[in-house]
Symmetry: C2
Subunit: 512 residues, 2 copies
């Protein structure tokens, strides 16, 4: 990404691409402020919002990131605030005949290290970064009992097994009262199945079932896993106390096994991380996301895997992603998954314009096209080797696109199902988001956020907008924190405080 | 409901209605067993499953509860097991021109008491049965922080306020990443808004927001409620410690106010309970549900309110419900809500036949028609005075139908949004279900369940099948437990152990 800083004595602005006819001020620009080149601000322009750099006419395209964000509904002489109301959202680009393979970056930056200290999981494509006992409920009905049991396990058992990091109840609102046989039920079912097999659970499977639910155990477990050593059916237990005893008994056996595990030095090809952004602003796309993209390139260049997601936030940049797909099959799957999501939204009486949120808009993002270009920046420059449907796991290593909803609490569990063992989370407005099964590193797009949330933001990328660091420097800092965190030598803030969102499961089917 | 017991020395069967051509054995009937009247069991018939009482031919209707469960796909001579595979599900009855007002029961049984000890809530239609501080997250992003804060409140503050029963985090997976402006978004939004106003929270409102979410505070709160005394916005706090301090500070103020509240004797018209069943079997419709229906009639007869729900479980009995509606408007709303649900299911590529669950079927329920007739029994005989769309609150008192999904964890929160302060939950297969904001009384349909779940089942209605109690006797026992529980003199098991499901919010819209 080209980055041109226009400086003057008063207010700095950032223009992302040479073709851009707008820039964003890095602080609030009151009407009348002067910009470089003699341009004067015609009205108040909030931090991160867009100002026109030339005299634009009604019908002209507003260009940012070198692409059109839409056409103007009215004239906008140089120095005008380009707000949502004067811009027309372009149509979503077509998905037929997407290009592929014509924008493949073969040379990625070289990572300073090529190994991390992780936990081997026999038979798993990826290794763990944490050693956690995960206990899944097969249906929400058992969540109450499981929560009580997990509290007891944490208090009474976990202290005896110091090599185990945590015990996590994998509760969810799926499992019954659903149309289990409809085609799209495959999505929540494989999500739960793959979530249970996340490498951070070390291959020790434990499921608490009710006994009469629609999601039967053979849907969650392979035949060789669906055995009494892994499964407790509450309807077969002697009352509440029998249930608690059964769960604690099985948990103790699993904890004993997990406690014997040791970290070993592993090549980075065994590491799979997720990239996600939430509460974005106009800086996300020029600071935090490109820094994360650079860290991702370092990881992928060293053989590792990075998964990025959020369909509605890349939809308008479909052609850019497709051009980075390594083969026709991958670009076709991309088109298929984006098309599925278009249809899903249409059936729900909506479309991609329902994203962005009011907070995104306050932060200066006028529409989903602008948000998309900023969002895609988190994927760096590596080629896209695979596209996953929601809840699927990778069959390849490298940069992977998982076609998930953009909502943080749906995207996170889907990335966990995809096998990530660590997540990097970029935020502009700020969210205290966290995931129980994996550490989450939070990156702020603005230094103002880091200043107010000192003890929640792990890395500040606002330094890039301030001109204090380059994207590459911040990206390298982030990469190093990824390795330290993955290796268990560093805990991000969300892990320190045990902040975690519910594992909300993406279920596009109807509730019965 | 007519109930005819056919006894013989070996195996007892129950026939519900004089017109029925099937009955169900109260225990497993091995092939060859003899029934009263010389009928011999032609094959093994599991407990609760149906046996043909006469020689039925292919195409004959199988009659139970006096209605057709569907037509036979093959001959079924007397003594045949009438399983799912030999029965054709009838079409869902039409919703045009439903009858109304032609089956109004004016004389309800007389309750032994007409008052309970509850908590007044100024301006609220109903009174509370518990004194709970409820803290709602406006979006899932803040759930991690809120959960940590609530743990601290429970440990550090709650013991200082002994008149307060509990502190509950009202977390949910709604709030962002959604199409907030689509028509059906009204459902989750009003559900959350009304949930926050549940009488058990005593009118002390407290919302923890992020600051950039789609569900803005003005959607959750009335203007006079949307004030700094009730709302904490995390993006405005100084980091994690600032957030925790702010939440604990506001919580302490609310706890002080709640701690001054006292129970007072109130007429039963101030009590609103919910009726729900889950994990049903063939006995649910002849023991637990009719007993609950009798208790509901006692309550409604004394001026109280009972809400029953679960659209797919009453859909096939639409005409029976409609005939009990007190006016044309109510029956039309019933038709509209059932029609909305038909369309919602169709759009999801499914229909009402996706219910029942495998456990229901193992328990002897062949199809949704049979499940519906058993499910409706929980509504007793009172006239239906109002029909609620999902998440709405009543404007009337009496027996009310809330058109919710049948899944327990979606139905419960919708009934709580409707204002229930206590729930009666009937179960055949058994579920340890519970709700944090209200006590849940669990009623078993079979004594075998009570025997294995001594410390989870509050009332056993299996005594009815065993001939030890009448429906009215069990119903009266249940009514008395409702009054004792509502008055704070009794805690059901789920409350004792603090078993509670997540408050899963019914959201028929698409995730973006």
């Amino acid at each position: 990404m080209d980055r041109i800083l226009i400086r003057n004595g008063l207010i700095r602005t950032i223009k992302v691409h040479p073709l851009d006819n707008v820039a964003i001020p890095v602080e609030n620009a009151p009407g009348g402020s002067e910009f470089a080149g003699g341009l004067r601000c015609r009205e108040d322009i909030p931090q991160g919002h867009k100002v026109s750099l030339t005299n634009l006419k009604k019908g002209d395209a507003v260009i940012r990131y070198g692409v059109s964000l839409g056409k103007l509904r009215q004239d906008a002489p140089a120095g005008t605030h380009i707000g949502e109301h004067i811009l027309e959202l372009p149509k979503a680009p077509g998905l037929d005949e997407l290009p592929w393979g014509n924008s493949i970056t073969v040379s990625l930056p070289k990572a300073p290290v090529t190994v991390f200290d992780g936990y081997e999981v026999p038979g798993n494509f990826f290794a763990g970064t944490r050693n956690i006992l995960g206990i899944m409920s097969s249906v929400q009905c058992v969540a109450g009992v499981l929560n009580v049991a997990v509290e007891k396990i944490k208090t009474e058992l976990l202290p005896k097994y110091p090599a185990v990091d945590d015990v996590v109840a994998i509760n969810h609102a799926y499992g019954c009262g659903v149309a289990i046989n409809t085609r799209d039920a495959a999505i929540p079912i494989r999500t739960l199945k793959n979530l249970l097999h996340n490498p951070n659970f070390g291959g020790e499977l434990m499921v608490v079932a009710l006994g009469c639910e629609m999601l039967t155990l053979d849907m969650l477990l392979r035949p060789e896993e669906n055995i009494s050593e892994n499964v407790i059916v509450l309807q077969n237990q002697q009352g509440f106390h029998g249930m608690i005893d059964a769960i604690l008994g099985m948990a103790e056996g699993k904890l004993q096994k997990l406690n014997r595990r040791k970290r070993v030095s592993l090549p980075l090809e065994r590491l799979c991380i997720g990239l996600q952004c939430g509460g974005s602003d106009a800086f996300s796309g020029i600071t935090a996301n490109p820094a994360a993209g650079y860290a991702s390139d370092l990881l992928v260049g060293a053989g590792g895997t990075a998964i990025f997601s959020e369909v509605t936030e890349v939809r308008d940049g479909a052609a850019f992603l497709s051009a980075r797909c390594i083969d026709r099959e991958t670009s076709q799957k991309l088109a298929r998954e984006l098309g599925w999501y278009d249809a899903y939204l249409e059936q729900g009486g909506t479309d991609r314009s329902a994203n962005p949120s009011p907070g995104n808009k306050q932060g200066g993002l006028v529409n989903i096209m602008e948000k998309a270009m900023g969002s895609i920046a988190k994927s760096g420059n590596a080629p896209i080797v695979e596209v996953l449907a929601p809840g699927e796991t990778p069959a390849k290593r490298g940069l992977i696109f998982a076609a998930t909803p953009a909502g943080d609490f749906l995207c996170g569990p889907l990335q966990l199902a995809g096998g990530i063992t660590l997540q990097v989370f970029m935020t502009g407005r700020g969210t205290p988001y966290g995931l129980a099964p994996a550490p989450v590193i939070k990156v702020s797009s603005r230094t103002a956020l880091k200043n107010i949330w000192q003890d929640l933001i792990d890395i500040d990328a606002g330094t890039i907008a301030a001109g204090e660091e380059t994207i590459e420097e911040t990206g390298l800092r982030l990469f190093n924190m990824i390795i330290e965190t993955a290796s268990g030598r560093h805990k991000p803030w969300a892990e320190v405080y045990r902040l975690c969102n519910d594992l909300a499961i993406f279920d596009p089917t109807a509730a019965t």
